[in-house]
């Protein structure tokens, strides 16, 4: 009943073939990197393939890797094919889970950082609606053919996309000084808190 991660990886490779650009194991969970055009197709296969059976939609979110400190030996390409910087782009992250054969899959979909556009998977998983709305307002990703892509948390007149690394949290130091910065030669170390 329970599917070992290694077997799961093999099955995924078998079922998806060259649709995925990168498939690996990460802490006992299958880690896939998918190009934009294959994305929805891959999700559908993952759900419908009996051998895989990832019917449980865990979550959909995005990661802004623009300020991520990469090692040089990190081969993983997180930027989209279009953008120049292979690393440090923005990516959509979908996590699916198979309740029958117990295994997880993390789906990384690199997007173009400057104009992030991604097809919606509400056709595959209805539950993705809210998640995509949240990702849209937080990361500025536009999900095409989403039923109603309105803001979920933020007010309509909210400026900017908070979860982007470029969106600096209005530090409390605007409101008041950092109480820890009293010591003269420690004031420097106080920055950024």
């Amino acid at each position: 009943m329970r599917l070992e991660p290694a077997d799961a990886l093999d099955r995924v490779k078998g079922a998806l073939g060259e649709r995925v650009t990168d498939a690996r194991l990460n802490h006992g969970q299958v880690d896939l990197t998918v190009e934009l055009d294959k994305y929805v197709e891959v999700v559908r296969i993952l759900r419908d393939d009996i051998a895989l059976g990832c019917r449980f939609f865990t979550f959909l979110s995005a990661i802004d890797r623009s300020t991520y400190k990469y090692d040089d030996d990190d081969q993983r390409e997180t930027g989209s094919a279009g953008s120049q910087n292979k690393k440090g782009g923005i990516e959509v992250l979908v996590h699916l889970y198979s309740p029958d054969k117990i295994w997880h899959v993390n789906l990384h979909v690199p997007l173009d950082f400057d104009a992030p556009v991604c097809p919606s998977i509400t056709g595959v998983f209805r539950g993705a609606e809210w998640h995509e709305r949240e990702a849209a307002e937080m990361f500025g990703i536009h999900f095409t053919d989403h039923p109603n892509l309105t803001t979920l948390y933020l007010s309509e007149d909210f400026e900017g996309h908070p979860m982007l690394k470029s969106f600096k949290l209005p530090a409390r130091s605007y409101v008041k000084d950092w109480p820890g910065a009293k010591d003269p030669d420690e004031a420097a170390a106080a920055g950024g808190r």
């Binding site: 802490h27 992250l93 539950g127 809210w130």
Partner: protein, 393 residues
């Protein structure tokens, strides 16, 4: 009598030609004027500030649209600005009914990344505290559901049991709701003398009094009338919405992280995962009520087999997760709570995606609420056991 008060008129006007209205006519059933009922953000039935825009036709809800975000505190952004020690105390506020269960996945994720060995005593204590917290949470929803159905008495019985468990947990952690007790690698400190007896006593008292609850609600004909076959959530729909926890199990999703992927020492305890088969309010409630028994079982086993030893693993002075990503999920009282932790080796997480149970569960509400009555809406809201702080994060 008086003519139509001013406020009603405009909505009545623009609802005349709303699409749903047209559909009703085309279906040829008796159609009266529809009315837009704004439930919340301040409403007795929505624990927290939760808004529901319900278009009602008489007492029948044509469609309902939840509006969340009144409590959005931006946890996922906030944790990027805090170091791990502060995050522990921060996320304990996320779902204020199950504080210690919120701290668990963060500790687990850090231990996974930093490859910390957690001593067994700490694991047992973690299990015991987490399950006691689960009982607290379930008792809370037991009473709130009853109160929403109009039965006032169970509230006070449930709070009476809660008090004992809360007191036991307070002697350990120093807090009643926000515990801040789990640390990457173990616990903050060891439990005080007499805690085991206190906890066992409080838990057994709950078990002893559960029959009263059954008599008060589960066996009550009126209660059955209000809940059976009300707000049915289909299994596949629940899957696609990612509905988990008691609600998911209510609609026969036999899924429990504690059993499927045992994360602490859960694999050493014997407990059963209750599942309902109809997916209606009654099953959800029944599952919730019986999980109290199972949790109590686990607490008894964990405290009985509490091994001696340290409660803190080998942890470097500064909690700095090495580079890497990991998704850790635990069984929160309300469902699957998952942390997708992306670390770039700093003292602060690079990104944490918090997958909260209530969020996914509530997102399935519009589907369930269609074509129900206003009174049923309350029952369904109550039976979905969501915490707004968990939805809005």
């Amino acid at each position: 009598m008086a003519d139509t008060p001013k406020v009603l008129e405009p909505e009545l006007q623009n609802l005349q030609d709303s699409s749903a209205f047209a559909n009703e006519v085309s279906e040829g059933r008796l159609v009266t004027e529809q009315m837009l009922l704004n439930v919340g953000p301040q409403h007795p039935a929505t624990h927290g500030v939760f808004r529901l825009l319900a278009t009602i036709d008489g007492e029948r809800i044509v469609r309902a649209e939840p509006v969340v975000g009144y409590m959005h505190r931006g946890y996922e952004k906030l944790v990027e600005q805090r170091d791990y020690r502060q995050i522990t105390n921060l996320i304990s506020r996320m779902d204020w009914l199950s504080g210690i269960n919120n701290e668990l996945p963060l500790a687990l994720a850090l231990e996974e990344l930093m490859e910390i060995e957690v001593p067994e005593r700490a694991q047992y204590l973690r299990v015991a505290l987490a399950e006691m917290n689960r009982i607290l949470n379930h008792l809370m929803f037991f009473q709130s559901f009853a109160a929403e159905l109009g039965a006032i008495t169970p509230t006070f019985y449930a709070f009476r049991e809660r008090e004992d468990i809360q007191y036991a947990m307070e002697t350990v952690t120093g807090g009643r709701m926000h515990f801040g007790f789990f640390r990457p690698g173990g616990l903050k400190e060891d439990v005080p003398k007499g805690f085991v007896d206190m906890a066992l006593a409080s838990v057994r008292k709950v078990i002893k009094r559960l029959p009263d609850y059954e008599d008060l609600l589960t066996g009550n004909e009126i209660f059955k009338q209000r809940t059976i076959n009300i707000g049915t959530l289909d299994r596949e729909v629940a899957y696609s919405y990612g509905v988990s926890g008691p609600i998911g199990r209510g609609s026969s999703i036999d899924m429990d992280v504690r059993r499927d992927e045992p994360y602490l020492v859960y694999d050493q305890f014997d407990f059963e995962v209750c599942t309902g088969s109809h997916g209606d309010c009654f099953d959800r409630f029944w599952v919730l009520l019986h999980e109290i028994i199972e949790s109590a079982k686990i607490v008894e086993q964990a405290l009985a087999g509490l091994p001696p030893g340290p409660i803190m693993g080998k942890v470097p002075r500064v909690v700095e997760a090495p580079k890497g990503e990991v998704y850790i999920r635990t069984e929160n009282p309300l469902g699957e709570l998952g942390f997708y932790l992306v670390s770039d080796g700093g003292r602060r997480p690079y990104r944490i995606k918090i997958r909260t149970p209530s969020y996914s569960n509530v997102s399935a509400l519009p589907f369930v609420l269609e074509n129900t009555l206003v009174a049923d809406m309350i029952a369904i809201l109550g039976s979905f056991f969501f915490v707004l702080g968990d939805v809005d994060r």
